[in-house]
């Protein structure tokens, strides 16, 4: 869990904006879409529906519909997996994209090379993010360094923020400072990097240098709620750093910059009181502290004000009021500790979580959980702080993802049933259609047509070869030819006059001339018709072949669908069960996280109570010593 908290701390900017996922991966801007399917993936991605984007990408890749953007799509897939929390899968893709040659390309000329370098740079960048999130800080820093200078501006800024954070975690504050100091543009990532560095320097006890960075963030011109909150946070940290240095005046300058209506106003009031106290103005200190005391007791600032008030009374010499206030403080802490004890028990039982979570699961896309549905019980009010914690939000994301998975799976469960019915219906319809088909599927008829066609084609061909114009004679011409033939073969014809015989020869010659002169036209016409007939017969044969092929393939295809549906259905069932089990575990885990957070709160109160008792005893000792001295 610690690594998750660290991850969240790194990208506090993202948390603040509620766009953790959106900032995890960003496709290259201004891409001209060459594959509609790739655009479809981007559409789901830009809608922030990462599960759909991933699924669409996987399906479209399966159908080979993303060709022009193949590498880009792989990079996006890795980024989406990263965004979806599948870090190892994402890392595999980035490593694959980068290939075995892990050194960056140094050649810089040519558009293609630029594109390749940009792509490799982004792959390095994403790989660096994965490594960082998995806790491989040193390797992450190396990968981020390799990402080069071809990244788009927004990714370049994020890379610099991550790299500086990596150096901070590696204890190389000097390198982190170099990056932050070289930051040219004024952007959100830069502000977070400065803030992170400021905090890291505070931890390293380099307070004056820390002050420079925190002051820079504390004076930014902010317009978004996210940056306003960061500015407040920087001023609060800066104010308390100065207070620790006992510099009330500087602390007040920072604390006065915090918005009164913001989430840090209570803490600012507390700090302001301490700043007044640091300058010896205890009456002035009491004003904000008394105001805080009357606010909700679960706020840490309010809890501490309960302890600060008697301290101020003591400094003002009002020992009686100090003792009374310490007594009241101890009572308040006892009451709170008692309520926390009960809240811890309830949280561990898990009932509170179930009640809270089942009331608000309708919108999967929400990053943070609504506080509006908190049960109105004494225990539940402690959850406000718990729910806002990173650990709880991380567990909540898991739980929300599980709810979404369960919803998808239930949907598929219903659809698979319908698809099974569709396959059955098609099989039944196929069987009926099969019964209606004639035996042999018109094979004899088509063969007969083919045979006739070939016979005619042979005749025409023979006529063409022999120039047999008689083949194309009309009915009238055929009748005349028959009569002439009959006449010439009759016994009387030999006795016919020479004139008659000459006339018949002349008539035959004219008829032959007429037929021969039409022969070529006739032949062309016949061949044309024959060709059309051939095409029709061929179409019939092809149609029949396709029909036969489909008749063979359809049952196999339907059986394949049925088989796949049969195989997938139990997988869906099994995953539904597994999701239910893990969801239940996650609920328990959330309960445990809540309980641990409450235990932390309890520990803090125990410390406050001990401080109060110690201070109260010190007053008694002092008064007692004074009395003894007086006696």
């Amino acid at each position: 869990m610690r690594s998750l908290a660290r991850k969240l701390s790194l990208v506090a900017a993202i948390i603040g904006s509620g766009q953790l996922c959106a900032a995890e991966v960003t496709p290259r801007a201004g891409v001209v879409i060459e594959d509609l399917s790739y655009g479809q993936v981007l559409y789901e991605y830009y809608k922030q529906d990462y599960f759909s984007a991933l699924t669409t990408l996987l399906v479209e890749e399966h159908f080979a519909r993303i060709n022009e953007h193949a590498t880009e799509a792989e990079l996006l897939r890795g980024g989406l997996l990263l965004s979806y929390g599948l870090h190892s899968d994402a890392a595999e893709i980035f490593e694959l994209l980068l290939g075995n040659d892990m050194a960056p390309t140094l050649v810089e000329d040519g558009k293609a090379l630029f594109a390749e370098q940009e792509l490799r740079g982004r792959a390095w960048f994403f790989l660096g993010k994965v490594l960082f999130q998995r806790g491989y800080t040193s390797e992450a820093a190396e990968a981020l360094r390799y990402s080069g200078d071809k990244l788009p501006d927004h990714q370049s800024a994020e890379r610099d923020a991550l790299l500086s954070q990596a150096y901070m975690e590696l204890g190389e504050l000097g390198k982190a400072e170099q990056i932050v100091d070289a930051w040219e543009s004024v952007d959100d990532w830069g502000n977070y990097a400065r803030y992170n560095l400021g905090v890291a320097l505070v931890k390293a006890n380099r307070v004056n240098e820390a002050g420079v960075y925190l002051d820079a963030v504390g004076t930014i011109k902010a317009s978004s709620e996210e940056m306003l909150a960061l500015r407040d946070r920087a001023n609060l940290a800066l104010g308390f750093v100065w207070l620790r240095q006992e510099d009330g005046a500087q602390a007040k300058v920072a604390l006065e910059r915090i918005r009164l209506a913001g989430p840090f106003s209570n803490s600012a009031l507390l700090g302001y009181g301490w700043a007044e106290a640091a300058q010896g103005n205890y009456r002035g200190a009491l004003v904000p502290w008394l105001e805080l005391r009357d606010r909700k007791a679960i706020d840490p600032a309010s809890q501490e004000s309960v302890l600060a008030i008697p301290y101020a009374y003591r400094q003002l010499g009002a020992n009686q009021q100090a003792v009374e206030s310490y007594t009241a403080a101890i009572q308040i802490y006892d009451d709170e500790i008692g309520r926390l004890d009960r809240a811890i028990v309830v949280a561990r039982q898990g009932e509170l979580m179930k009640q809270l979570l089942t009331e608000d699961i309708s919108d999967f896309s929400r990053v943070s959980w609504s506080l509006s549905s908190l049960p109105d019980t004494a225990e539940a009010r402690y959850l406000y702080e718990v729910i806002a914690s990173n650990r709880f939000q991380t567990g909540l994301r898991n739980y929300r993802d599980l709810l979404m998975l369960a919803s998808h799976l239930r949907d598929w469960q219903a659809r698979l049933g319908i698809y099974g019915d569709i396959v059955d219906s098609r099989m039944a319809a196929y069987a009926i259609a099969l019964e209606r088909l004639p035996d042999g599927l018109y094979a004899e008829q088509i063969a007969a047509h083919r045979s006739t066609y070939e016979g005619v084609a042979e005749t025409v061909s023979a006529a063409e070869n022999s120039y047999g114009s008689a083949v194309f004679a009309s009915a009238k011409e055929s009748a005349v030819l028959q009569r002439i033939d009959a006449l010439e073969n009759s016994p009387e014809w030999a006795m016919a006059s020479a004139d008659a015989q000459e006339k018949l020869q002349l008539f035959k010659g004219v008829l032959s001339w007429d037929m021969d002169s039409d022969f070529k036209l006739q032949l062309w016409q016949q061949q044309g018709q024959l060709s059309e007939l051939g095409t029709i017969i061929e179409d019939s044969e092809n149609t029949r072949a396709r029909l036969v092929q489909r008749l063979t393939a359809t049952p196999l295809l339907l059986e394949d669908y049925a088989e796949r549906a049969r195989m997938l259905a139990p997988q869906v069932e099994q995953l539904i069960d597994e999701v239910a089990v893990v969801s239940s575990l996650q609920i328990s885990e959330l309960g445990e996280v809540a309980a641990e957070e409450l235990v932390d709160q309890r520990e803090r109160l125990l410390q406050y109570r001990a401080q109060a008792r110690f201070a109260q005893a010190a007053i008694f000792d002092s008064v007692s010593a004074s009395t003894e001295l007086a006696e």
Binding site: L36, K47, L236, V241, L402, H408, L409, V572, Q586, A615
Partner: protein, 181 residues
Amino acid sequence: MNIMTSFWRQLIGLFLVVILVTSGFAQEVKTEAAAPIDQQVQDLKRSVLNLNRELFVLEEELLFPANTQLMLFLSMDVGKYFELDSVEVTLDGKELSSYLYTPRETDALLRGGVQRLYIGNLKSGEHELVAVFTGKGPSGRDYRRAASLGFEKTLGAKFVELKISDRDSSQQPEFVIREWE
């Protein structure tokens, strides 16, 4: 006084820790394996993703075979002169799809996303597609325009894109329907 000073410092120090925790920066930086529950969630996500792919592939092959498949897509380019509210698509005079856009969806389109508006089956032959776009035109006025495309559906999947783009020369939106190979 010394005791109280120490007390004062302790309180401030304690609260400073609270501030840093609240800010999320007081966590120790150590590599730690993900909690078992996180690993289980990851495994489940992976399994469901893979299963989801199988199921979508089966669905498409079963319901929308490639030979008869028709897919309609909608894309936007810039969107300076037109703010999309809805689109209605008819095919051969029959309503095919009607879609009302949310701001998040139009934003996704403007950033380069392409929406798959429709997937279905269509028989081979000549068809006519008509799309009616409704929204706000130049100067924020109500705007309604139609575009049409006659096309031939042959064997194999047919992809058609409805594209809304800006025509700077006339400062008007342009609506084009085009076939993809």
